[in-house]
C-alpha cells in the first residue's frame, strides 16, 4: 500500500456540486454495497475526494467517516489530491515495461519536475504510473486524459508535453 498523502490544496467545492452529490447518494444508499459506487460518483463530481467530500458521503450513507476513509485509501483510483488539468498516465504493465516505459516515466518526472502522484505547481499536469490499460499491442503506452499515445521512445516525451502547453 502506498503512503497516504493528504491534500494541502484548499477545498473549493460549490453548493451545486454538493446538491448533485447528495441527490446521487440518496439513490445509492438503497443498493447493497453502495459505498464504492457512492465514492466513484463523488470523485466524478469533484475530481478527487477531500475530507470535506468524505464527510458528506459518510453522513448520507450513514457509515462512519473512519470506514469511508478506510475504503478511499484502500483503492488506488480514489485520490485524496486534486489532479492536473492534463492527467498523464504512463503504463507500467509488463508488456510496456519490457519495452522501456520505465525510462519514459523517468523522463516525464525529470521534464515536469514532479514525482509520481504529484501535480505541477500551475495545476496543469499530474503524473501517475498506471496499471496495464490493455492495449499491449501499442506498447509502450501512455494516456493524457482520454488521448492514447503508443509505440513511444523517450524522445517523444518533450513533444507530448509541448502539445498541451
Amino acid at each position: 500500500m502506498s503512503k497516504i498523502k493528504v491534500s494541502n490544496v484548499p477545498f473549493t467545492g460549490t453548493p451545486a456540486q454538493e446538491q448533485k452529490l447528495r441527490e446521487a447518494l440518496a439513490e445509492l444508499k438503497e443498493i447493497p454495497g453502495g459505498l464504492m459506487p457512492a465514492l466513484q460518483k463523488a470523485q466524478e463530481i469533484y475530481g478527487y475526494l477531500p475530507i470535506e467530500v468524505q464527510k458528506i458521503v459518510a453522513d448520507v450513507m450513514d457509515v462512519s467517516l473512519e470506514e469511508v476513509f478506510g475504503v478511499v485509501t484502500f483503492y488506488a483510483q480514489f485520490s485524496l489530491n486534486p489532479k492536473g488539468r492534463y492527467k498523464i498516465g504512463v503504463c507500467l504493465g509488463t508488456a510496456c515495461y519490457v519495452k522501456g516505459s520505465g525510462d519514459i516515466f523517468e523522463a516525464f518526472k525529470q521534464q515536469l519536475g514532479i514525482d509520481a502522484g504529484q501535480c505541477t505547481e500551475d495545476g496543469k499536469f499530474s503524473l501517475d504510473a498506471t496499471r496495464c490499460i490493455g492495449c499491449c499491442g501499442l506498447a509502450p503506452v501512455l494516456t493524457v486524459n482520454e488521448d492514447v499515445y503508443g509505440k513511444l521512445t523517450t524522445d517523444d516525451v518533450a513533444g507530448i508535453i509541448a502539445k498541451y502547453h
Binding site: 447493497p32 466513484q40 484502500f74 509488463t94 519490457v98 519495452k99 492495449c135 499491442g137 501499442l138 503508443g150
Partner: protein, 595 residues
C-alpha cells in the same frame, strides 16, 4: 441486404489508434459516394492482431487491411467498394497472394488458432443483441431452461472438463456443484472481470467483443445453482468494456432474457455491474466479494468457501470472464465436443495475450497442449530485430519465467505448474536477450509489494524484505548467502500467506532463481548485469580505436561527464556519469559501449 460489409475493429488497441475516426470517415465517405444503402459499416470487437491495428476487414472478399489511416478511407471506398479493386498496398502482407487474397485463416497468426471463447470477437457488432442471437445466441439458455434440470447442467459442465480460466484452474462443474448443494434462499453468481495481471487483456476483449456470451453463461450458472442475482465486477480502467456490457444488459432486459420469467419459465435472473477501483488483490475471490459489499477489498480466511458463505454471507460462485465465454457453446455442442480439444487434464482452448518482444503482439486462442515454441515462433512471428528468445513469462505477478530450454513444453495447467510457472489469466510476455531476469523479478515483486493489502504478515513484511534483497542484488551489494536466504524466504511466504496473492508472489523470484541462477550470480559475484539493464552495475566506455573525436557525445551529455579534444578519442568520467544512455544514441561510429 447489403452487398458488402466493412468491419472496423473497435477493440481497445485499435480504438487507441483512431479506429473510431476511421469508422466515422467510412460512413461519411460511403454516404458521399451514394453507397450507404449497399455497404454496411460495423464496429466489432478485437480481431486479435493488435500489432497491426487499426484493422479493417471488407467482406465478401475478406480483405484484411492493416494499419489503416483515416486518409486511406477514401481510397478504400473509391477503389475497393466502388470499382471493385482491392487496395493491395494496405493489405496485411501475409494475405497478399499472386491470385488475389489469401484467407486470413491461412496466415501464420491465425492458422494454429482455434477460437471458442473468442469465436464471435471481431465477427459481430457487440452492441447489437440481434447479431448475437443470429449466431445461436441465448439458445443454450433456452435449452437449459426448457429441457434440462439444474443437475443436468452441472453434469454437462463437469463432463466437459472445463477448468477456471482465471488462474488456478479449479474444475468449474465442481464449483457449481458445491454452490448447488448449499441450502439457502438467496445465492449469487459473480463474474470476475477484474483483470489485473499486467499484460493480460483477454477478458477485456471478450467483454468488448462478445458481452452477451458472458451474460448468457451467468444466467445458465444461476439456473444451475439456484440463484436470481448476478454481479459483474469489472475494472474501471476498461471503459469500452463497461459501456458495451451496460448496453448488452439493457438489451437483454428489453428482450426478456434478463428479468422475471425468462423464456416463460419461473426462472428469474438479473445482473448488476460493480466497478473496481484499482486494487489488484480484488482479483482474489474473497477480496472481490468484500469489495462488491462496498468495503476495503481484503481477502477472508477460507473455509468457509464462497460456495458455502460468499457475497453478503450467502452461497456464491465466482468465475472468470473467459470461463463463462465457453459455457453456452458447451451446452449447445455437448461436453464431448469440448473435451475433444486439449490435453488429458486441461480441456478446451486458452486465450493468451501475447506481448513484449514479439512481432505479432495481440490475442491468440489455442488448444491446450500447443507448445510454447508454436506460440512464439509460428503464431507470434518470432522475436523482432534478430534478437534471441530468452524467456517467456506467464501468469503475471503470480507466475514465472519459462527459459528457452523448455520452449517445447506443451502449455496446460499442470505442465506450467510443474515448471514453476502457472497459467494465470493468460498473459504471455516474451523476453529477449536484452531483458535482465533479476530486474524482471524485481519488477513483479515491486508490483505485489505495492498491491499487498497488508492484512497478513508474511505477505506484507515478507515480500517487502524479499524486494530489499533483490535491490541488493541489482545494486551489487548482495552476497551468495543472500541468494540462499532469498530462496528460503520465498518458500516461507508461499506457505504462510493468507490468500493467493501472497502465496504466489515469490514465484517470479523462485523461477528466475531456478532457471537463471547464473545471472543472479553474475550480479553478486562479478558485480555485472549481463543484459546491461541494472544501472548501478553498468559502466559506459568509449573505444579509442573507434572514436574519431567528433565531440557529439560530449555536447549531448547532460552532466558533462565526457571530455576530450576534437579529433582525438574522448573519455567518460565514470564518477560523473548518470548512465542515461544519451551518448550511445548520439554516436554514429558505435564507439560507445555499456558493460
Amino acid at each position: 441486404m447489403y452487398r458488402a460489409h466493412i468491419l472496423v475493429c473497435g477493440g481497445t488497441g485499435c480504438s487507441s489508434s483512431n479506429s473510431k475516426e476511421i469508422f466515422a470517415k467510412f460512413e461519411s465517405e460511403l454516404k458521399a459516394a451514394g453507397l450507404d444503402k449497399e455497404v454496411k459499416t460495423i464496429m466489432t470487437g478485437c480481431f486479435g492482431l493488435c500489432a497491426l491495428g487499426p484493422v479493417v476487414v471488407v467482406y465478401p472478399e475478406g480483405a484484411f487491411y492493416s494499419q489503416v489511416k483515416v486518409e486511406d478511407v477514401p481510397e478504400i471506398v473509391s477503389e475497393h467498394l466502388l470499382k471493385g479493386r482491392i487496395v493491395t498496398r494496405l493489405l496485411y502482407k501475409e494475405t497478399v497472394a499472386e491470385t488475389g487474397i489469401r484467407s486470413l485463416s491461412e496466415t501464420n497468426f491465425y492458422k494454429k488458432q482455434h477460437r471458442v471463447a473468442l469465436k464471435l470477437c471481431g465477427v459481430i457488432n457487440p452492441e447489437n443483441i440481434d447479431e448475437y442471437i443470429a449466431y445461436d445466441g441465448y439458445q443454450a439458455l433456452a435449452k437449459v431452461l426448457t429441457e434440462m434440470t439444474p443437475q443436468e447442467v452441472i453434469d454437462v459442465i463437469s463432463k466437459s472438463g472445463l477448468r477456471g480460466r482465471g488462474g488456478a484452474g479449479f474444475p468449474t462443474g465442481r464449483k457449481w456443484q458445491f454452490a448447488r448443494n448449499s441450502v439457502s434462499d438467496k445465492k449469487y453468481v459473480c463474474c470476475n472481470a477484474d483483470e489485473g495481471d499486467p499484460g493480460a487483456f483477454m477478458d477485456r476483449s471478450v467483454l468488448e467483443g462478445d458481452p452477451h456470451a458472458v451474460i448468457e453463461a451467468m444466467a445458465i450458472a444461476a439456473y444451475a445453482i439456484g440463484s436470481d442475482q448476478g454481479y459483474v465486477y469489472i475494472r474501471a480502467e476498461y471503459p469500452i468494456a463497461v459501456q458495451r456490457l451496460q448496453i448488452a444488459i439493457k438489451q437483454a432486459r428489453e428482450y426478456g432474457l434478463l428479468g422475471k420469467n425468462i423464456f416463460g419459465t419461473d426462472f428469474n435472473f438479473d445482473l448488476d455491474i460493480r466497478l473496481g477501483a484499482g486494487a489488484f488483490v480484488c482479483g482474489e475471490e474473497t477480496a472481490l466479494m468484500t469489495s462488491i459489499e462496498g468495503k476495503r477489498g481484503e481477502p477472508r480466511v477460507r473455509p468457509p468457501f464462497p460456495a458455502v458463505k460468499g457475497l453478503f454471507g450467502q452461497p456464491t460462485i465466482l468465475n472468470n470472464v473467459e470461463t463463462y465465454a465457453n459455457v453456452a457453446q458447451i451446452i449447445l455442442n455437448g461436453p464431448e465436443w469440448f473435451a475433444s480439444m486439449g490435453t488429458e487434464k486441461s480441456k478446451g482452448t486458452k486465450v493468451f495475450a501475447l506481448g513484449g518482444k514479439i512481432t505479432n503482439t495481440g490475442l491468440v486462442e489455442i488448444p491446450m497442449g500447443t507448445t510454447l515454441r508454436e506460440i512464439v515462433e509460428d503464431i507470434g512471428g518470432g522475436i523482432p530485430n534478430g534478437k534471441k528468445f530468452k524467456a517467456a513469462q506467464t501468469g503475471g505477478p503470480s507466475g514465472g519465467c519459462i527459459p528457452a530450454s523448455l520452449i517445447d513444453t506443451p502449455i496446460d495447467y499442470d505442465n506450467l505448474l510443474a515448471i514453476g510457472s502457472m497459467m494465470g489469466s493468460g498473459g504471455l510476455i516474451v523476453m529477449d536477450e536484452d531483458t535482465c531476469m533479476v530486474d524482471i523479478a524485481k519488477f513483479f515483486l515491486e508490483f505485489t509489494v505495492e498491491e499487498s493489502c497488508g492484512k497478513c504478515t508474511p505477505c506484507r513484511i515478507g515480500n517487502k524484505r524479499l524486494l530489499e534483497m533483490l535491490e541488493k542484488v541489482t545494486s551489487g551489494r548482495a552476497t551468495m548467502e543472500d541468494l540462499d536466504k532469498m530462496e528460503k524466504l520465498c518458500h516461507y511466504i508461499k506457505e504462510n500467506s493468507l490468500c493467493g496473492l501472497g502465496q504466489t508472489a515469490p514465484n517470479p523470484v523462485l523461477s528466475t532463481l531456478r532457471y537463471f541462477r547464473e545471472e543472479y550470480e553474475a550480479h553478486v559475484r562479478d558485480k555485472r548485469c549481463p543484459a546491461g539493464v541494472c544501472k548501478k552495475l553498468i559502466t559506459y566506455s568509449i573505444d579509442p580505436t573507434k572514436c574519431i573525436g567528433c565531440s557529439k557525445c560530449a555536447r549531448n551529455c547532460p552532466v558533462e561527464a565526457i571530455h576530450g579534444e576534437i579529433k582525438k578519442p574522448y573519455t567518460i568520467d565514470t564518477s560523473k556519469c548518470i548512465k542515461c544512455g544519451a551518448c550511445i544514441d548520439q554516436c554514429r561510429f558505435k564507439a560507445i559501449s555499456k558493460k
